[in-house]
Amino acid sequence: AQSVTQLDSQVPVFEEAPVELRCNYSSSVSVYLFWYVQYPNQGLQLLLKYLSGSTLVESINGFEAEFNKSQTSFHLRKPSVHISDTAEYFCAVSVKGGSEKLVFGKGTKLTVNP
C-alpha cells in the first residue's frame, strides 16, 4: 500500500519570502506524484505532477517540485510567495500502471501574511 506524509500541517510565511512544503511517500511500487491546491472556498485543483523524465516539474504560477527517488520525496517550493498563494496544499501519489486512485497526504495549510 502507498502512504503520503506531509510533515507540516501549517506553514505561515511573509509575502515575498521563499517557502518549501514537504512531502514524503512510501510505496513498494513505482508511483506518479501530484500536488493539488485548494484555495479558500474552492475545489481541489491540480498544481503540478511528475510522471517521468525530468525530476523537476513546474507550475504556471511559479511553484516547482522535485522528485527525489532515493529520499522518496516530492517537496514543493516557491522562491517568492504572494498573498494569493494562501491555500491548502495536498501531496498525492498513484500507482504507475494502475488506476488513477490517488492516495493523499493530510495537507499543509500555507498562510502568506503581508
Binding site: 485543483q45 505532477k49 500507482v95 486512485k101 493530510k106
Partner: protein, 115 residues
C-alpha cells in the same frame, strides 16, 4: 457543464437519517471517484467507477455507505443511518480515463453535518 458539479453543497441532517449526495461529472469522463475529507484530515478514497467495469469499493468505511453510477453519467453516494463521525466534505472527481497519471478534476464538495 464545465466542471464537476455536486449537490447539495451543504447538508445538515439528524443522526440516524439517510442522505444522498449527487455528482455530475464532466461530460465524456468515464472515470468517477468519491473521496471524503474530514476536518483536519487528508482525503480518504471511498469508491471508483470506470466505465462499465465493476466499481472499486475498497474505500467504503462501512456497509452504511453505498454508491451508484448510471452509465458514464451521474453518481449518487448514499449514507444510511448517518452517524456524527460521517460529518465531512464529500468530494467527487472525474477524468477521461482511469489510467494513472491522468489529471482528475474535483468538484467543490458536499459539506455534510450530522447533528
Amino acid at each position: 457543464g464545465a466542471g464537476v458539479s455536486q449537490s447539495p453543497s451543504n447538508k445538515v441532517t439528524e443522526k440516524g437519517k439517510d442522505v444522498e449526495l449527487r455528482c455530475d461529472p464532466i461530460s465524456g469522463h468515464t472515470a468517477l471517484y468519491w473521496y471524503r475529507q474530514r476536518l483536519g484530515q487528508g482525503l480518504e478514497f471511498l469508491i471508483y467507477f470506470q466505465g462499465n467495469s465493476a466499481p472499486d469499493k475498497s474505500g467504503l468505511p462501512s456497509d452504511r455507505f453505498s454508491a451508484e453510477r448510471t452509465g458514464e453519467s451521474v453518481s449518487t453516494l448514499t449514507i444510511q443511518r448517518t452517524q456524527q463521525e460521517d460529518s465531512a466534505v464529500y468530494l467527487c472527481a472525474s477524468s477521461r480515463r482511469g489510467n494513472s497519471g491522468n489529471t482528475i478534476y474535483f468538484g467543490e464538495g458536499s459539506w455534510l453535518t450530522v447533528v
